[in-house]
């Protein structure tokens, strides 16, 4: 971070000068006493639907050969905290800018993955092998995504169909009996673009873990046992992807996607006990089956009026069966639930560009309908309809160096009435490669079916009287994106401050001596800053860093919102020749203390975790190139995670694994 800052500060004057006279370096006859510093601006990534938001785009291709996961990549995005409830294959959820996981919308190819029952997505159910890229928009997103987009929006883009024929095969073996095999093929046949993908994952998950001491007012309390092995933590998942696309003339394109996911996994639960294996559940098990299908029609320049039309239809079905034959202490009963959720969405969007007087307009009008249904042996059947209409303009001035993006969404959700969700965004680009951006918007979240209708069990129940969570949020920041800055290449820098005022936060609270139910608990304020940057030096050294500072507090008392660390620092060093024939990647993640109670007086300790991966692309080694003919890449990777064996927990009673190793072979042909 200091290096990025220094480079930026030192290079900024030259950057400004360079922008006045963009183009090639000065002619050789100009003699200078100091080395010339050259800056070349590039266009930073921006999501087409929400250009003023602060966005991180993760190209999965950039992590070729590394043993990683969707949640792992997301955890390194500024502003994002991933709360893991175990190791590989165990549940994980996302928080953006201090949000809850339900305050983040996660989409797969633009279709929401969360169900109305839970309102959140388990990140471990999204195999990275089937993704092409991940787009993370921080702060709001309600105009595009409606309910739930308070913290931000994550769009997971699956492998793209079409292009030249390409095959990928990956095999990974790792500690704790972890295996993963995936394969994908994409290409075009008879004018039809296609992609097929498959991923199989399995882990025993039987890692040992250390349990925390507690430093209390009466002294140190030692857990017994001090160390335990995660039991009933084996999991297996299979995921498939089919993507088809076909163009009809130059202006019409039709595409179809189907993403299938199945898992079967033990749910060992909390390690809050003492007897046996620290009180873990030996019999609890979950099976999940999910299918998401989407059909998209894109038509450009409809009727020759310069209007582009996109129609999306999506259908998500997810069934989750949870069983625990072991009697729950005190209740004297076992647990067996079978829930199936379905969500159907239909969305039409029209985009048009016009020049009116001295301003450019790129306007969007969209209409969207959604129906959620829940069938369960625990719940009464539930359903909910929602209808939304949204308009947005992207008004450009001064050859689009200044852009104002007003937007408004009206959404009517059954049972909660209509809500107006305005937003105003600003993008100023005084010099190429330098952007100032800001947003002010309203976001909200309609309660989930669990929160509303969970049946009264005596000790827990839903609350049909809940109001929606409401938020007013804003951010302001600067982005720099340069192809070159002196000796640095691919320089990017982003510094953002944000503010989020949330009312009616929904929290499960004890409301009677024996009953917990969700309640609207009053206002909270989140402020923070995100700082991130990356560059390469001499093509051999790449450095990425991101830092997030978060101050999430309940109004009035000023007590912290639990579950959010106040700061997180990620560093990534990537060493290797430009050919990428060999690479050494070292990553560090430091996470501050995490408050776990609503006073903030109980806190999980801070930690620092180091990972390292050494990979060789045999197809890029001159001596081996001929022997592996046909491969564009053949990457062999050795990787170590949590090398210092740090004790890591994001939640008080959910341990995470210590040191682990993996070997991976990836072929691309």
């Amino acid at each position: 971070v200091p290096a990025v800052l220094a480079a930026t500060v030192l290079g900024l004057p030259t950057l400004l000068r360079a922008d006045d006279a963009p183009g090639p370096p000065p002619p050789p006859e100009v003699h200078r006493s100091v080395p010339e510093v050259v800056a070349e601006a590039v266009e930073p990534a921006e999501p087409p639907q929400d250009p003023s938001s602060f966005t991180t785009v993760i190209e999965v291709e950039d992590y070729r050969g590394e043993v990683t996961s969707t949640e792992e990549l997301l955890s390194r995005v500024p502003g994002v905290h991933v709360r893991r409830f175990g190791g590989p294959g165990d549940p994980a959820e996302i928080s953006i800018r201090g949000s809850t996981s339900q305050q983040v919308v996660i989409q797969l190819d633009g279709i929401r993955l969360d169900t109305a029952q839970s309102g959140s997505v388990d990140l471990s159910t999204i195999p990275l092998a089937l993704l092409d890229r991940i787009e993370v928009s921080r702060g709001g997103g309600s105009v595009e995504s409606g309910s739930g987009a308070i913290g931000g929006v994550v769009n997971l883009v699956t492998l793209r169909p079409g292009g030249p024929p390409r095959n990928t095969l990956v095999g990974t073996a790792g500690s704790f009996g972890t295996w993963e095999v995936s394969g994908a093929r994409s290409g075009t046949a008879r004018d039809t673009e296609y992609v097929l993908g498959y991923d199989w994952f399995q882990t025993e998950g039987d890692w040992t873990f250390e349990r925390f001491d507690q430093q209390t007012g009466i002294g140190v309390v030692k857990p017994v046992p001090a160390e335990a092995t995660r039991i009933n933590n084996a999991s297996e998942s299979q995921a498939g992807l089919i993507g088809l696309g076909r163009g009809f003339g130059d202006d019409v394109h039709l595409s179809f996607r189907d993403a299938f996911y199945y898992d079967s996994r033990g749910m060992p639960g909390l390690d809050a006990g003492s007897v046996g294996e620290a009180g873990q559940r030996a019999e609890a098990h979950e099976r999940r089956l999910r299918n998401l299908a989407g059909l998209q029609l894109e038509a450009a320049d409809v009727a020759g009026r310069g209007v582009d039309l996109t129609v999306d239809g999506g259908y998500l079905w997810e069934g989750v069966r949870f069983q625990d034959s072991e009697e729950v202490p005190r209740l004297g009963t076992s647990v067996d639930s079978d829930d199936s959720n379905a969500t159907a969405t239909l969305r039409a969007r029209a985009d048009a560009a016009r020049r009116i007087a001295w301003s450019d307009h790129r306007a969007t009008l969209s209409v969207e309908g959604q129906r959620d249904t829940l069938a369960s042996d625990v719940f009464d059947a539930q359903s909910r309809n929602a209808l939304a209409l949204a308009v947005q303009d992207d008004v450009g001035f001064f050859t689009r160096r200044l852009r104002i993006l007003p937007a408004l969404r009206w959404q009517d959700t059954e049972g909660f009435g209509g809500a107006w969700l305005p937003r105003i965004g600003l993008i100023a680009e005084p010099w190429a490669g330098l952007r100032l951006k800001g947003n002010l918007e309203r976001a909200y979240r309609v309660p989930s079916f669990d929160e509303l209708y969970f049946p009264d069990k005596g000790f827990i129940r839903g609350n049909p009287g809940l109001s929606s969570e409401d938020a007013v949020e804003g951010d302001l920041g600067v982005e720099v994106a340069l192809a070159r800055l002196g000796p640095l290449r691919d320089v990017s820098l982003q510094a953002v401050g944000f503010y989020d005022d949330i009312t009616d936060s929904i929290v499960y609270v004890l409301v009677s001596p024996s009953l917990v139910e969700p309640e609207n608990t009053g206002p909270a304020t989140v402020t923070g800053a995100e700082l991130s940057g990356s560059f390469r030096v001499f093509e051999w050294v790449g450095l990425e860093a991101s830092y997030t500072y978060l101050d999430a507090r309940r109004d009035g008392l000023g007590t912290p919102l639990p579950g959010r660390p106040d700061q997180e620092l990620d560093l990534r060093l990537d060493l290797g020749p430009p050919s990428r024939a060999a690479r050494l990647v070292v990553e560090m993640q430091a996470v501050g203390e995490i408050p776990v109670t609503d006073t903030g007086n109980t806190r999980l300790p801070s930690r620092t975790v180091w990972d390292a991966a050494l990979s060789f692309d045999l197809a890029r080694w001159p001596a081996l190139r001929d022997r592996v003919g046909g491969f564009r890449h053949l990457v062999l990777t050795f990787q170590g995670t949590n090398l210092t064996n740090a004790v890591v927990r994001d939640a008080e009673f959910f341990p995470q694994p210590g040191r682990g190793f993996a070997v991976r072979v990836e072929g691309d042909f």
């Binding site: 140190v220 006990g273 003492s274 409301v511 001596p513 009953l515 008392l557 106040d566």
Partner: protein
């Protein structure tokens, strides 16, 4: 913003410097921001008791991890009285008491000697023997009389043998007397004793030592604990014989009367009591079957809370004969689950309600006159003298806090009750409102039997912690047990005279000095503030007090 930015910069620098320098063994930090309170390692600490013979030391039980920790209560906040570290006792207790995969869930603690505290635990049903000086376990020689059936105490040593154990199982296979019905009125099926209605005792809820005997209450919940349909089986009190004078203390079920059945469902604690005439008794809090109130979908409010489903009583056990000699019926009172508060003169006993902001009282004067050889009598004027002062039909109502817990969901739960050492004030804490009610009691000149309700004066209430409201997040709340330190405050000791537990969001043990009631409303608040009751940042306990005469409804008849 500048301050925050500066703090962020400094802390990020510290974070960078800390990279790779993680401590060898990380620890969860548990603090208290309440100056009266010391933080405990888990939520909902279940009990505390003063250790006899150890001046100013209390034993505090912790739920998870399972601990009993000695605490010096003289300073504010209290401090540990042993160096530690303290180890989770649950697996060691389970190994000796139940051999199951269930963790013992500590329910409470009773200190009976300077070197012995007894902790009751459910789930893995037992009474554990703990040294209150160190918090460590003690070994007893636990045996079972030779004549017992092998399955009578299935987790105890075989009949006729004894073993060194740190806990004694309270699982007994019992056959209830006819008509052997559960709280739903259904016949109890054959269980641990094939062919006859039977079940294993469960939900160990209280222990009392009287002389050489232990009396252990077991609530015997059949199924659905904590749900809308909880099945209660007939309540029991187990009787053990104890010899603390032996080189290794011994304990075994009483050979003649190992199990006593209570007059109603759900015995939740036992209180030792010696009459002025010297008769050693045990008073059993028979709370009665309780249920939970589901929400009524036809009302805009969200109902919750509890409801009494069977009658409550205070049973009287003669400890020498180990038999029930009397019962004081209290109606649908749903007694709360802590021990009774007995005034220092031994004249009255108080109990709280688990479903309302109510206090019940009985007059103990008739107990001296009970016929030691006669059948059990009902001390409500029917078959014996009337000992009822406040019962379910005419309770002593405690004032509700304005702006306190919503009455639909949390209508009150008198979770702790005790007498001040002077005997002139009874103290009651409300889980829902987070309040301490001070009830003046006048027992001089000696009142008639039963004590007239007029002897209970105007009640003043002080906020100790936050009420149980959705907007109380971030504040200490959920009061637990309350104990008053023996001795005269200011003379025998200078520190707090009352200790109470807090359940959320951290477990806390707090010490306060209970102020004398003032002559006018508000005096208590002023005295409370002077006594250091104020909570500082939270504002709770900042001196607001309500004064109101306890409302007692005349009893029918």
């Amino acid at each position: 913003l500048i301050a925050r930015a500066h703090r962020a910069a400094v802390s990020s620098l510290v974070l960078c410097l800390a990279v790779g320098a993680a401590p060898l063994r990380a620890a969860i930090i548990v603090d208290s921001s309440d100056p009266r309170c010391v933080s405990l390692p888990g939520r909902f600490p279940p009990g505390l008791d003063f250790v006899p013979g150890a001046e100013g030391v209390a034993a505090v039980a912790n739920f998870a991890p399972g601990l009993v920790v000695p605490v010096d209560v003289e300073p504010v906040p209290p401090e540990s009285a042993a160096p530690g570290p303290f180890f989770d006792l649950r697996s060691a207790i389970a190994a000796d008491a139940c051999s199951s995969s269930r963790d013992p869930e500590l329910d409470g603690v009773v200190a009976v000697a300077p070197d012995l505290a007894l902790a009751t635990a459910s789930s893995c049903e037992c009474v554990a023997f703990i040294d209150p000086r160190s918090g460590g376990l003690r070994d007893f020689e636990v045996g079972v009389p030779a004549g017992f059936a092998p399955g009578f105490f299935p987790f105890a040593p075989a009949p006729g043998t004894a073993q060194l154990r740190a806990a004694v199982s309270t699982r007994a296979c019992v056959t209830p007397p006819p008509p052997a019905l559960d709280s739903f009125g259904a016949s109890i099926a054959p269980g641990c004793n094939p062919g006859t209605p039977s079940y294993l005792t469960s939900f160990t809820s209280g222990v009392a030592r009287v002389g050489d005997r232990l009396f252990v209450a077991t609530s015997n919940i059949g199924s659905g604990a904590g749900t809308l349909a909880t099945q209660f089986l007939p309540g029991t009190v187990l009787v053990f014989d104890l010899d603390l004078g032996a080189p290794t203390p011994t304990l075994h079920p009483d050979a003649e009367h190992p199990v006593l059945f209570t007059s109603g469902f759900n015995p939740t604690d036992v209180t030792p009591y010696t009459t002025p005439g010297g008769r050693a008794l045990v008073l059993v809090s028979v709370s009665g079957a309780t249920g939970l109130v589901p929400d009524d979908p036809h009302t805009p409010e969200r109902e919750a809370g509890g409801v009494a489903q069977s009658a409550a009583a205070i049973d009287v056990i003669d400890t020498v004969q180990a038999r029930l000699v009397a019962t004081v019926p209290l109606g649908l009172a749903a007694l709360s689950f802590d021990r009774l508060a007995v005034d220092p003169s031994g004249r009255i006993a108080l109990a709280g309600s688990s479903i309302g902001r109510r206090v019940y009282a009985v007059d103990l004067a008739p107990l001296d006159g009970l016929d030691p050889d006669g059948p059990p009598v009902a001390l409500d004027g029917s078959t014996g003298p009337d000992a009822v002062i406040f019962d379910a039909d005419a309770p002593l109502e405690l004032p509700a806090l304005a702006g306190g817990a919503p009455p639909e969901t949390c209508p009150g739960y008198v979770v702790g009750i005790a007498f001040a050492a002077d005997g002139r004030r009874a103290l009651a804490t409300d889980f829902c409102d987070g309040t301490l009610s001070v009830i003046p009691v006048r027992l001089s000149p000696p009142p008639p039997v039963p004590v007239p309700p007029e002897r209970f004066g105007a009640i003043e209430t002080v906020e100790l912690v936050a009420p149980l409201r959705p907007d109380s997040l971030g504040l200490p709340r959920a009061l637990g047990a309350l104990r008053v330190r023996p001795g005269v405050p200011g003379a025998d000791f200078q520190g707090p005279d009352a200790l109470f537990l807090v359940g959320l969001p951290e477990g806390l043990l707090c010490g306060i000095r209970v102020p004398e009631p003032g002559p006018v409303p508000g005096a208590l608040a002023a005295a409370a503030a002077l006594a250091g009751l104020a909570l500082g940042r939270s504002g709770w306990g900042s001196g607001r007090a309500a004064r109101r005469r306890g409302r007692s409804v005349p009893r029918a008849g």
